[in-house]
């Protein structure tokens, strides 16, 4: 595990919803081309933290954010940085598959067309195919690209959402409990896909499922009550945690 480049770095990140503080100064380095998993009990701030990384929290009124988040060394909250441009570089996949109620093709092609990444026609077709292949969905849907994306099964929908995200060629993909609404077989598909995707992207995943973190993550961070308790290589976290809280959570004493 040497020669690790820092992709995303946060420094004393604090966040308040109104008066309620949800993050108490989280400093964390996330490495390029690795899967980083955030675990912790409900309400521990792991999803909130994740949503700071592509400025999705900006959409909520009354949120105050202090601290620094950098992507490749550039502050994403700096003055003059547009959150829309940040989200183009940091894509996100949600807990509930949320394809647009449009055709499979349009689901993928829409954002790249809006970003002027491709022109309509052959170029766009090629991009759609590439994204679907990367998401491992091409073989299943290549004959029904014009059918509605919402007609697919849950697991397929989630892979469609992943394909849609990688179609805009982000650097980082955030995943907020991407498999918690899926059956075991679809979950396995997505996990395999994630391991494959980390060659190209930096993946950060929030999960409720500790076994999932153990299976796929290179690095794991344990959050509790808005604090980062422990962050280390996954193996070390699970086999030999340094903090008592981490051990208690992993062994199921609370959470």
């Amino acid at each position: 595990m040497n020669k690790m480049t820092i992709k995303v770095k946060t420094d004393k990140l604090k966040l308040w919803y109104g008066d309620k503080q949800a993050l108490n100064g989280v400093s964390l380095d996330i490495y390029e081309n690795k899967i980083t998993a955030f675990i912790g009990p409900s309400g521990c701030g792991k999803s909130t933290y994740l949503r700071c990384l592509n400025r999705m929290n900006d959409l909520i009124d009354n949120v105050t954010i202090k601290g620094k988040v950098t992507l490749d060394g550039h502050d994403i909250y700096a003055n003059g940085v547009d959150e829309v441009a940040v989200r183009k570089k940091v894509g996100m996949v949600f807990q509930q598959p949320n394809p647009f109620p449009k055709s499979i093709y349009d689901n993928i092609a829409y954002a790249p067309l809006m970003h002027d990444m491709v022109k309509k026609g052959k170029e766009c077709d090629a991009l759609v195919e590439r994204a679907l292949r990367d998401a491992g969905l091409w073989e299943e849907v290549k004959d029904k690209l014009s059918e509605s994306g919402t007609a697919l099964s849950g697991g397929q929908q989630q892979r469609l959402c992943i394909a849609r995200t990688i179609a805009i060629e982000p650097d980082v993909i955030l995943m907020d409990e991407p498999t918690s609404a899926l059956d075991p077989i679809s979950t396995q598909n997505i996990e395999n896909l994630m391991t494959k995707l980390k060659e190209k992207y930096t993946i950060i995943v929030v999960t409720h499922n500790m076994q999932q973190a153990a299976r796929i993550a290179d690095m794991t961070a344990f959050f509790h009550l808005g604090n980062l308790i422990e962050y280390n290589e996954t193996e070390k976290i699970f086999v030999n945690p340094k903090e008592e809280k981490t051990e208690q959570y992993i062994t199921g004493k609370f959470g």
Partner: protein, 387 residues
């Protein structure tokens, strides 16, 4: 009997539930009965107006009677049965049919409303002698009931048999075009701003409360507003479809805003989140993902608001649209009337022959409203997407 399951008061509780069920059923039946009674009453009263009586009488046309057309019919014999409107129109008819000049032939003429009402078996003021004559003519096949083309072609008239509904239908159509062009874009944009862009603060809350209250304001107040602002201040011609449409647009706005807001609210937030996560701007998300999903709800709301505006009379009183309009107006600035206003005008006329026209007008208005609602339901069914 198995006493194991016995609950002492169960029978009484069940009886109560049953009683309640019957009361609710009675309420339903009462409203259905009212509706059926109203509809059948209108149909019974109004169906007669869809036909009109014509009589075949000798018409003498020469130089003199072409000038004084009322002389072309023998007044004592046939005067009571021919419509004054037909006699007045004879000059025009002669221009179109010059070969009629210097003929003394029996011709089909529009019957006077008294004769028409008698033929339809309704109240009339014919004398016994006249009735005998009519009966004789009926036997001779000189009286006919034809489809009432006048009703669907002409405007209002003080001569009942010559009055039609078309001027008010056209007036309604033109007024509704104005209303639609103003209220739908304004309402939808307002809803989009309030629902998608505005931050939830005191200011927007006050606006929203006010919009909800506006929907419940007595409609005549909108008429006063239209009179004060559009006619007196901006100088829009009174009685015109333009001012009527603008006034009704004011009235429909809150309804359209509220229903559009509800439609936007029902679009799941996950769609917006998905858009944001892809680095799309708010406008792109609203235009291409939220609006298409909200469209069926917005359409339904807009159509229902327009249907409501179409049946509205009170605000139009204030802007002078309850008026005697014999001609179909040719532009958005000419004086015109609308269907409910025409119905109101006819209902106040002393001649009995207007009763059936009033009812027929109501039937036409109801038919148009029902078909608009049917369109609303169809559009909602057609564009609703599931996911």
């Amino acid at each position: 009997m198995d006493n194991y399951f016995h609950i002492p008061q169960l029978a009484r509780r069940k009886a109560k539930a049953k009683r309640f069920k019957y009361i609710t059923m009675m309420a339903l039946m009462a409203s259905v009965a009212f509706l059926l009674f109203f509809l059948s009453d209108m149909i019974i009263k109004g169906h007669g107006a869809f036909t009109q009586t014509y009589v075949k009488v000798p018409v003498h046309i020469n130089e003199k009677t072409a000038k004084f057309t009322h002389l072309s019919i023998e007044r004592k014999e046939y005067g009571f049965m021919v419509s004054r409107a037909w006699l007045r129109g004879l000059k025009k008819t002669l221009k179109e049919n010059p070969q009629w000049m210097n003929t003394n032939q029996e011709r089909w003429t529009l019957a006077n409303s008294n004769v028409d009402q008698f033929i339809k078996g309704k109240y009339n003021r014919l004398k016994p002698k006249q009735i005998q004559k009519i009966k004789q003519m009926q036997k001779d096949g000189k009286i006919e009931r034809r489809f009432n083309i006048i009703f669907f072609k002409k405007g209002d008239s003080k001569i009942p048999e010559f009055s039609g509904f078309m001027a008010s239908i056209m007036g309604t159509v033109m007024t509704m075009i104005i209303t639609m062009l103003i209220a739908v874009p304004l309402g939808v944009m307002t809803a989009v701003y309030l629902e998608e862009f505005a931050k939830d603060n005191k200011f927007t809350q006050i606006i929203e409360v006010n919009i909800n209250n506006l929907a419940a304001i007595p409609s005549i107040l909108f008429g006063l507003l239209g009179l004060a602002v559009f006619i007196n201040f901006f100088g829009v011609p009174r009685s015109s479809p333009l001012v009527g449409g603008m006034t009704l647009a004011l009235m429909s706005l809150p309804v359209i805003i509220v229903s559009s807001k509800a439609a936007l609210k029902s679009v799941p937030d996950s769609i917006r989140q998905a858009g944001f996560a892809l680095g799309l701007t708010k406008w792109q998300i609203v235009r291409d993902h939220v609006l298409p999903l909200a469209m069926p709800g917005m359409l339904t709301g807009a159509i229902i608001a327009l249907a409501q505006a179409m049946g509205e009379t009170a605000p139009l009183i204030m802007v002078g649209m309850i008026a005697f309009i014999p001609d179909i107006s040719g532009s958005f600035l000419d004086a015109t009337t609308v269907m409910p206003a025409q119905i109101f005008t006819w209902s106040g006329m002393p001649e009995r022959a207007y009763v059936e026209r009033t009812a027929a007008g109501i039937l036409v208005l109801l038919g148009i409203l029902l078909s608009l609602n049917a369109v609303a339901i169809y559009l909602r069914k057609k564009y609703t997407r599931t996911w």
